[in-house]
Symmetry: C3
Subunit: 256 residues, 3 copies
């Protein structure tokens, strides 16, 4: 039997290699602020993004994709209708999907819609502490993470100074990352897209979510060392992700 925690760095290195070999298609229903940056992050990881939000065709795109991201950062009528169609198409095709309930702490209708989607068993939910509170109605302590992972039949990927990944039974903490990641718009959205890409190549959703956040955080560390400020950091993290190799991931992953 595997020791999940101690194997996570190796799984992260595996996931990175599989992304580059298999080049999974990831369809992203995401907000307009994040679209271009998310697509470039996926391309840097090896995945192939598609981004349409039109309800007439999103089903066709999702049916041909290997994973789906639903990001609620823009909450217009077109995207709401498209989200429901996209999730239905993903479930019909047996594809994993990730929920990123951006800023639901700022808007009640958005929070209500996120709850409705969380009840549809996403492969993973990637969010920050304020968003977790709005979605779960509880502070994100270990017990609440476990309880809501079970309730949502999902993996909870809570990001912050330390990332916590819980599937109801297993908990991983990841200390990779850099404070500059919070100074670039759509960085969290791009991280959620990497989780979706990882789910496309790693069937254990807990391992996939942890792997994506390890690789992402580590790319952030490399970028921070090279950057002069948040502008160059946003560019350097793309280069760092594209240039990451297996040995560096194994040497530098910080899992507890």
């Amino acid at each position: 039997m595997r020791s999940p925690l101690s194997h996570l760095p190796e799984i992260a290195a595996d996931v990175l290699e599989r992304l580059r070999e298999r080049r999974p298609r990831v369809h992203c229903l995401t907000n307009a602020v994040a679209q271009a940056y998310t697509a470039n992050m996926l391309l840097a990881a090896g995945a192939i993004p598609s981004m349409t939000i039109a309800r007439d065709e999103i089903g066709a795109f999702v049916a041909r994709a290997d994973a789906l991201l639903i990001n609620l950062g823009t909450f217009d009528a077109e995207r709401r209708a498209a989200a429901l169609k996209a999730i239905a198409a993903a479930q019909k095709a047996g594809r994993p999907w990730v929920l990123d309930p951006v800023f639901i702490d700022r808007s009640k209708p958005r929070a209500a819609f996120a709850k409705r989607l969380a009840a549809k068993a996403p492969g993973a939910v990637r969010l920050n502490a304020a968003e977790f509170e709005a979605l779960a109605g509880a502070k994100p302590d270990h017990g609440a993470l476990a309880r809501h992972a079970k309730k949502w039949k999902s993996v909870v990927g809570l990001t912050g100074a330390q990332d916590l990944i819980h599937d109801g039974a297993r908990l991983a903490g990841i200390a990779n990352g850099d404070p500059l990641m919070a100074r670039v718009t759509a960085m969290g959205c791009a991280g959620s897209a990497l989780v979706a890409a990882a789910l496309a190549v790693e069937p254990d959703a807990w391992s996939a979510t942890a792997a994506a956040l390890i690789v992402f955080g580590f790319a952030g560390e490399i970028a921070a060392a090279r950057a002069r400020g948040p502008g160059s950091f946003a560019i350097e993290i793309i280069d760092a992700l594209a240039g990451l190799d297996r040995d560096t991931v194994l040497a530098r992953a910080k899992v507890t």
Copy 2:
């Protein structure tokens, strides 16, 4: 009594420090071209952007924000409806808002809508010469700037080779900036967002508008010295803004 003009460099340095300490929330109803770049510019200045355009929730976002930007660079039905809701929410909450009537010289319906919004007493109107002519029906000489600042009950921030800021009584000219700023899309939109952020931390709208344009133009000068062309300039100005300190602002502000 203060001597407004001579104090502007000091006020610009104060505004920069307050943005970093208070981290005001700035809601931006802006065009799709500008959204990501505007958000990154605000983050670099210390502010916290939100960008939804959905009419169902924009009121909730604006009510929790410290300032609002209305940018007309995309003029679809959703954004028009959202603009009216957002301004009503800002006025109800007593929050300042900025109007950026992008490209109204190219489209009569857009100009007509901008006139309607200018009559709602924006805290500041940031525009270029062609946009001023379309909005005011007059060349932007000093008299016309003063007259329309009074008419719109607003501060007029006219940007160009030299920026002119008029509140109907006081006029400031700012010579900071670089021609590369005109070679990057959404640069003016990002500048308007900085004006909105400044209004959130400085109650005198004339001083706030001048402070934002001093800091913005000065970041442009630093970036131009480091950049190889417009691509790297767009990145360097984000880094420069994030790295600006009080002493450099005081030493380099060019106010007349």
Copy 3:
């Protein structure tokens, strides 16, 4: 009589100079992912972009533009209606327009709409091999390129490892470019916008399309030599395009 193939490098250098001197206006109806990057690429080339997609005003923008780009990368109802209005306005004003049928191999309704637009005699159609197959129903060999250029009354600009430009009578192959161009989102969309800009300053659509792709591919080569990965490459190609001079274009164009 001119020898078209051997003159293409010179025409490419001419087109670049005309873009900087005449600064043509290029209206882009494009997808949200590509809007900002496309605008910055046009600005780097010397053109002046506008990007509205609102059906109420797109006619006014196109009537004042020198060329039009129709990119199908986001296929919502607003953009479909706007596309028809924009093409009608361009045809009425006698302006050239370019069709970029992004990802039509992934969506049947999108492919059907693209066929409808191809029948309206675009100045050029810029696409990759999969998109050509979906639009033409045939593999993109030289015969099919010639046949469909005639059928669509257009120039076909097929991009890939080698670019092929066919107008039904003349064929050019261009070997400029770099594999990193496929690792940045919206790079193809930006290339199509450059084709539209070239059509605004060069009446022979075949020469204009080839010129734009030579200049674009060559900027990619310069950028690849300077970049650390896809993030910095996306920035460097903007700088490279803005900095290109006539002699370098003449020396490095790879036309067969």
